[in-house]
Structures are given as C-alpha cells and as structure tokens.
Symmetry: C2
C-alpha cells in the first residue's frame, strides 16, 4: 500500500519538577491528543532535568529524527529557565533580545517593572519566529522544526493552539474501539493475533484496565485507510462473536 | 563537598496508547514519587511505541546510563505485548517459559484455561528474577538493572512495591517548599538567581502555576545535606522578606 510520507513528532518535557514527582505532567496527554487530531504521529517522548547537557543532547537526538519536536518548560524568568539557551546552543545560533518579544511583555508588564529577569523571557534564538501566548504574553518560539512552549498547562495549550496553523499536518488516523467486558484478554489473544497478522496495515492493540478488581478490555484498531480498517474491524467482530458463542 | 555516589534511574514507558493520547499516563508520577522517597534520582523518562527496534534502542541507551531502568507496559498476553522479547534481545539472552511464572499464573487461571496466549506471560528472559504481582498474578521481572512492570497502574504499583526491597537506595533528598503568593516570579528571579549561585550544592527551582488567572509560585530547595539546605532556605527567606518590604 503506497502512503503519503507520515508527519512525525516528539515531545521533550524539560523540568526537574516532573522527575522529582513534585509536578504531575499533564502536557504529554494534551499534546498527544492534539497531534492525533492533526494526523501527526507522536513517536517519542522524553523527560529531562534542567541540565543544559541533557537538554541539548535530547534536542539534537529528537530534532534529527522527527518532523517536529515540541518542548515544554524552562522559558520563565528564573535562573533555572534555560530552555532558550539550550535551543540556541543546539542549533548553533545566537540568543538575542527580540524587540517583538519585548513589545509582547510590555502588554502585561509596566515599563518600570521590565527588569533583567523579565527581559530573559524576550531572549529568542536568531531565526526563530514567536508563538503567541494569549494567557500571560511571554511568547514561545519555533526554530526550524522545534516548537518551544511553556510548562504551565494553560499557557502550553494556548501556545499549542497558536502554532498549529504553521504545522504540516498528516492524513487522519481512523479509529475503531471495541469494548470487551465479558472476555479476558487471555481468551482472545491468540485469535486477535491471527487477525492482526492478516491485517498488517492496521495497527491493532488490546488495552486492559482494572475496574473494581475486574479486567475490562478495549481493542483499538487504527489505520489511515478506512476500507482496510473496516475490513479488520469486521474480522475482529466475527472473531469475538465466535469466541462469545463458545464461552 | 564529598558525597556518596548517587543512585539514578530512568523510566521507559512502552505503549502506542500513551503516544496516541488514548491513555493518559499515571505511572510516571507514581514511580517518580516512589523513587524520590527512596533517595533514588530519577534522571530521564522516555515513552516509545510498541515497536521492537525503538524499545530495544531505548533500553540499551538507558540501562547503560543509569543505575536502574523501570519499564511499564507490554507484558500481557496479546500480540502487541513484546516487552519481554525486547528485553531478552537487548541483553542477548534467551526468552524461556519459566515454571515459577507458570505456577503463579495457575494461582489465578484454571489449568484448562492456560492457553498459548496466557503462557506468553510466563516467558521470562534467562537470568531474570520474578517480581510478584499481588493484583493479577502474572509476574514482572528484573534482569540486571532493568525492572519490567505492567502498564495497568494498580498492577504497576503492586510490582513497584514488590521489587523495592531489592533496590539499592540513596541518601534522602531534603526539601524546603516556599510558597510565594504575593510576588510574581519576575520580581524575585534576579535575587533568587544570586542566592542559587551562592548555594551551588542546593538545587533551587521556581515553579509557577496559574490559579484563577493569577500566578502562584513555589520555590523548591533540595539537597541531601540538611545544613546546606537550611542555610540556603534562610537566605531565600531573608531575600523574600526584603523584596516584600520594598513592594
């Protein structure tokens, strides 16, 4: 089956606070949902600490492997906010105070309050374009294929919306979910594996969850080709009916 | 300051369902909290899809970089559960049906229901030790420095508890949290940076959150040396008092 080249992405979460457990990340799920809706395949996530060498190494690994890299965190005014520095260093470009970013900051901050720390938030790698922050003004930016966003979830979400029109999107992945409440995974796994082998173009996963001590399972089928998806879903349905009749 | 060598860890989350947004991960936060309480430094997290090459590459990168690697997901009975295969391949050992694992499965599954798919859950890399699963019996395992756990949160948590006595633990990281409700980050960032520079042994972070459209910040100080931590916290307190007096 010939297919358009897929648009791929990675997320790089930057922050000691996630790794220490202090903050429970919510951005990964939000970005994953958003990219899924754009037909962009999220292929990898990494979480790294506020350590320049770790951030730069992850940035360089990811930006050369995927269409886009979305970073969250580390663009505030304090000494531990070093994401812009790291992106500039990873790309080998200068980090400079950007007059347009200063203008955005001044929409929220009085001129007499625009101190050195706040000016840090206007330091943008040369060649980057700003990403609007409708919540608190201090902008994110996009440099090459790297999209740099805040860590505060509501601000991250605003930036994600703002940058979306600039992204190349892919064909939507169609999905069929089949809930299986009455059969354990072990009872259908072999048959499902055989169906999956017959429909190699369709991604088929089985996801158990425990509800009140009982497993409930969901079989999820995904494919960009609706006809192929329908054929696989029909096959899974027939297989489940056959198994249910036996039980 | 001389210190005991730190005990480090990474988490490898395995699963298409996290990357597609279908499932919102809860295990990272649980493991992060648990490791923090053991004095083990979580240094990196990666999320990869159910693709053998991606899993094996991440396993090999992480297991050579940190004291421990905790994996979640991909150890059920279905065709998309390939974590055990990947761990065996990464270590270059055989994957064999383990009689002890079969015995554990038989505590929950009737002998006549122990089909080929369920037997998949008893395939354990040679040299690994089993990790008890008090919730649904199918065990995890530990091979070298890699700890392989289920993805279902309640089962993952049971396995994390079960494996804990086998882990080398580190000195506890002491923490001081200072809530700052009345000053924006930009008002104290420069002064905080100066304090941080004077207390290089103490990790100092500033974390904003937006509550009803207003920023609330928390300054978090962390150090294994209580005296060094107290000195830095005193310094931050004095700095904040001075700033508050000015405002």
């Amino acid at each position: 089956m010939s297919e358009a080249p897929s648009i791929t992405a990675a997320i790089l979460v930057i922050g000691d606070e996630i790794l220490s457990g202090r903050t429970k990340d919510k951005n990964i799920g939000t970005i994953a949902d958003h990219l899924f809706g754009l037909g962009i395949d999220l292929r990898e996530v990494r979480v790294v600490p506020d350590v320049a060498a770790a951030i730069i190494a992850a940035l360089n690994a990811l930006r050369h492997s995927y269409t886009y890299v979305f970073t969250t965190g580390g663009i505030g005014p304090t000494h531990d906010d070093i994401t812009a520095d790291c992106v500039a260093e990873a790309f080998g470009v200068e980090l400079r105070e950007d007059p347009a970013a200063i203008a955005l900051l001044l929409e929220r901050i009085k001129p007499e309050d625009l101190n050195a720390a706040r000016r840090r938030m206007a330091r943008i790698p040369v060649g980057a374009s700003l990403i609007e922050n409708s919540v608190s003004k201090a902008p994110g930016f996009m440099l090459g294929n790297v999209i740099v966003m805040a860590g505060v979830p509501s601000i991250m979400t605003a930036m994600l919306q703002a940058v979306t029109p600039r992204l190349q999107t892919g064909a939507l992945l169609h999905t069929v979910n089949i809930n299986v409440d009455d059969l354990p995974e072990g009872a259908y796994a072999t048959a499902l594996g055989a169906v999956a082998a017959r429909h190699a173009a369709v991604s088929i996963g089985s996801y158990p969850s425990l509800v009140d001590g009982r497993f409930r399972n969901q079989i999820v089928l995904r494919c960009r080709d609706q006809a192929a998806l329908d054929a696989a879903a029909t096959d899974v349905g027939a297989m489940m009916a056959q198994l249910a009749a036996k039980h």
